[in-house]
């Protein structure tokens, strides 16, 4: 296989849902020729220690991400709006994961 062909394998991002987790969590990335192979690679790389029951893979190129340059207009306005947080009442002990 030529070096060019190797470097052409696109990057995929891997998301796992563990037995106890509630959501799929980003665990890392890998290279694969297509989505099916990416799923296999994810199984081999990220579930070796019994971590997962469900895997998502998505091409890194397909993710639209916020840019560090836009950090202020994107995130700073929420910094002083403490009333948006549900912190003004007691959470019962029997309600986990909040």
């Amino acid at each position: 296989m030529s070096e060019e062909a190797r470097s052409n394998w696109p990057l995929f991002e891997v998301f796992l849902r563990s037995k106890r987790g509630l959501n799929h969590v980003h665990v890392g990335s890998l290279h694969a020729a297509d989505a099916t192979m990416a799923l296999h690679h994810a199984r081999d790389l990220y579930t070796r220690r019994n971590e997962g029951v469900s895997i998502w893979v998505v091409k890194a190129a397909d993710i639209t991400a916020s840019s560090p340059d836009e950090k202020d207009p994107f995130f700073a306005p929420s910094g002083d709006k403490v009333y948006r947080h549900p912190t003004f009442y007691e959470i019962p002990d029997s309600v986990p994961h909040i």
């Binding site: 394998w9 296999h40 690679h41 790389l45 019994n50 971590e51």
Partner: protein
Amino acid sequence: MGFDTAYESISEESDSGHRWAFGTGFTDPLAGVDTSVPAGVDGADLAAYCLMLGDDALIMSHRLQQWLARAPELEEETALANIALDLLGQARLLLTRAGTADGSRQTEDDYAFGRAEREFRNVRLAEVADADFAGLVARLLVFSTWRLALLVRLQSSADPVLAAVAAQGVKEIAYHRDYAAQWVIRLGDGTDYSRQRMEAGLAAVAPLVAELFAPSATEERLAGVAVIPAQLRAEFDAVIAQVMAEARLDWPEVGWLDTTEGSGGSSPRAGAVGLFGRGGVHTEAMGYLLAEMQSVARAMPGATW
């Protein structure tokens, strides 16, 4: 080796939740399994059968381990390491079972590192070296297809230990077969060059296939405990045909192993009567493989670390 307690320390029950990211809920495949030899089963035969299946896994695992640091991609390397570890796990259980079944109390290490070439009972398919990655996936496809068919049937063995090992192994080997099939299809149905390499890989393993279904006296005597290899042929052929069709490849012509006296077999490497892996007769590759695999244990007998 702390093998027995390893499961307990990371089991669901003893985990307080703080290590959940590393996974929990591991299960010991032999938990609650009666390990005494069932009535009416000859212990020596059972041990011999465990050695056959255990050696297949051990030697195939070692060949896979030799791919580490040589695999074409990091991701493939981890996949091969996982497969090698699965097989090593099966080998450990089976070799340990051999030592208890015949009452010799030999350990898995005694069997793996203390035997000479003629005492190994693995099929020769497990021991041959791979010319390239296509050769490896061709061999892995044949090995996994055959072993999966075998283990599926072994789940109903009269020996509870063999049945438990098989039940665990079926899940593992099903993935190995899938992995190998995916690559055979990718390479076979890929470019002209990848197809050429894949065809060469299949041609290298095809002569070793007949041996997998050869009758052996041990299995005949262990009715209800062992699986008769000839019964696996139909499933094997069907699965291989399906993969070949998908990969648009032709399976090289391979005949049954001819066991008539002096025939020398139906293909150049089929072996003469009884003279193949199960009978302790191996290819040239086996000596080199064992020399490497046993070197540390032989240099430092009884060492622990």
